[in-house]
């Protein structure tokens, strides 16, 4: 494997479950040291893709190479060099925090002594030192998630796969996880993560693909995607009347584009304040006005016509 070859290469990758196609032919390259994201709504095919990359589910079509190897033939050898944080926790709730790590380390053929050292380092890394000797069962969701991430690092992996690492966590717990993932990234660990939080993708990903219905609908850095698919600013308008539809016509030709959501109207414009002024000139009286920068959420809305978190 040459230094320039991507760690993960997928071409026309397909996953079918019976007649249903969950991943409908995607092309992906992930390079060493990169933080790569799959962004998409529920059912987009993110986990199905991650499970193929994790060599636990065989592709139904296309080609996939990981670390220069074939996931079907060399699954065990590839998995030895991956760290996986699955969407659904699979910790042993009856064991302690430390035992969960040492037991898992042994699956990678790591000696007991090294396993204990690693466990202590990782427990410290995810700030669970005070709970190291406690059983996992009563830990909070955030603590379990952190432990699952620590477990994914026990074999010093070349690639870490994180399937929705922060879903269900409170903001504080999320920030701690982000901090830790950022540190990993700085150490040169290749991260592949899925999320349906656009702020998470913006914070962590060097490059990402937006998935919808099993397909990749856009690809680039968060900045590139926003530049390409959205305007610089967005005006969010709310009106006290229940029927927002009637305003669509009245707002015509203000800004570049308009999106009608159930509770608000979004006006896409490079100059948000100018757009607000134009709304005022037409004598429309919104109950609230918010000018903000475009985010990946807007990119997603534009590409799929749907909001990301439903």
């Amino acid at each position: 494997m040459s230094a320039a070859e991507p760690l993960i290469t997928a071409r026309d990758l397909v996953k079918r479950f019976g007649d249903f196609t969950a991943v409908a032919g995607i092309d992906v390259d992930v390079h060493a040291g990169e933080a790569f994201g799959f962004l998409g709504p529920n059912g987009a095919g993110k986990s199905s893709t991650m499970r193929m990359i994790g060599c636990v589910s065989a592709p139904s079509g296309g080609t996939l190479r990981i670390l220069g190897m074939d996931p079907v033939r060399d699954g065990s050898a590839i998995r030895a060099r991956l760290g996986v944080c699955p969407q659904q926790d699979s910790l042993d709730p009856e064991l302690t925090v430390r035992e969960n790590l040492t037991v898992y380390a042994r699956y990678f053929g790591i000696s007991r002594k090294v396993a204990r050292q690693r466990a202590d380092e990782l427990i410290e890394f995810v700030q669970l030192t005070e709970r190291a000797g406690d059983t996992v069962e009563p830990l909070s969701g955030g603590m379990k998630r952190r432990l699952t991430i620590a477990r994914a690092l026990v074999n010093d992996p070349a690639i870490v796969l994180l399937d929705e690492p922060t879903t269900g966590l409170d903001p504080q717990a999320r920030h701690l996880v982000w901090e830790r993932l950022f540190q990993l990234k700085q150490r040169g660990v290749t991260l592949v993560l899925t999320t349906h939080y656009m702020d998470e993708a913006e914070q962590l990903c060097d490059r990402l693909v937006v998935m919808d219905g099993g397909k990749i609908v856009a690809e680039g850095s968060p900045r590139q995607l926003i530049d390409r698919y959205s305007t610089r600013e967005v005006v969010e308008l709310r009106f006290s009347e229940a029927t927002l539809d009637s305003y669509v016509g009245k707002l015509e030709s203000i800004g570049e584009r308009l999106e009608l959501l159930p509770d608000r109207i979004l006006l896409y414009a490079d100059d948000g304040d100018a757009a607000v002024a134009a709304v005022g000139n037409r004598d429309l009286r919104p109950s609230s006005v918010l000018v903000r920068r475009s985010t990946l959420e807007d990119v997603f809305l534009h590409l799929t016509g749907r909001t990301l978190v439903d």
Binding site: V56, V84, P86, Q88, S90, R106, F108
Partner: protein, 254 residues
């Protein structure tokens, strides 16, 4: 480097460390209760008829030993295995490591056999204290228990990987484990059964285990000759193991 199957076994040992005292205690306590209640008290009545040729206590003790091996194997191969797929998801976590499906099956079954061995050993010691071991062959009852344990654990592993609801375990116990315990020669000789029922006893792995155990502790000959029983049990082990590996693979591929 330790074999991955050994790491799977070790994981179970770490869990067992929390409960071993209670489990070892009960592996002595249960046989004592069984032998007192069934062997001595029921035996008091049975021995008056004298139809068995041996004391009822001596007759039933090896049967109960074999059925204990079945009970331990069955309970350790049902919910714990199901949990590995559906609740704690232990097998899914292993699946993300170099551990292969065959390693999971082997490592976990090895642990079940350890549990069977500990229970059987406890039972044998109690049997010795009750004076029910009448032959130098008696220690062979231990490997026979392991054989019964594997012959039942392996197919039950396959079953537990196959079923989609835990309610199916009630079915397994009601239609396989309990009837086997009652009719496979543990409490009375199968000769007294109608032919059809006897045929079912012959099919069950337990009857063969009971025959072998009884032959070992009483020093008598078994119904079909020892090697025929061993061969039959080995066939269950092999078929069960192959089926379990296949079922584990299928379940984890989803």
């Amino acid at each position: 480097m330790a074999h991955p199957a050994y790491a799977v076994f070790e994981h179970q040992l770490v869990s067992y460390r929390r409960v071993w005292r209670g489990s070892v205690l009960s592996s002595f306590l249960l046989p004592v209760l069984f032998l007192l209640a069934m062997g001595l008290s029921v035996g008091g009545y049975v021995d008056r008829t004298g139809g068995l040729g041996v004391r009822y206590l001596d007759f039933i003790a090896p049967g109960l030993l074999a059925s204990t091996a079945l009970q331990v194997a069955a309970s350790e191969s049902t919910w714990p295995v199901y949990s590995g797929f559906h609740w704690h998801r232990m097998y899914h976590s292993m699946r993300a490591t170099p551990v292969r499906v065959a390693d999971m099956v082997r490592g976990h079954i090895a642990y079940v056999l350890l549990r069977v061995a500990l229970s059987a050993l406890g039972f044998l010691i109690v049997m010795a204290l009750f004076g029910t071991l009448h032959s130098w062959w008696a220690p062979l009852a231990l490997p026979v228990s392991l054989l019964v344990g594997l012959a039942t654990a392996a197919p039950i592993f396959a079953f537990s990987a196959l079923v989609k609801t835990e309610g199916m375990f009630a079915v397994l116990f009601r239609f396989a484990v309990v009837p086997m315990t009652l009719f496979a020669g543990v409490f009375f000789p199968v000769d007294s059964l109608p032919l059809a029922a006897r045929a079912l006893a012959y099919v069950s792995p337990l009857w063969h285990g009971v025959e072998l155990t009884r032959a070992a502790t009483l020093g008598t000959a078994s119904a079909w000759g020892a090697w025929a029983h061993v061969g039959y049990l080995v066939a269950w082990c092999v078929a069960g193991y192959l089926l379990a590996t296949y079922r584990f693979g299928r379940r984890l591929a989803e």
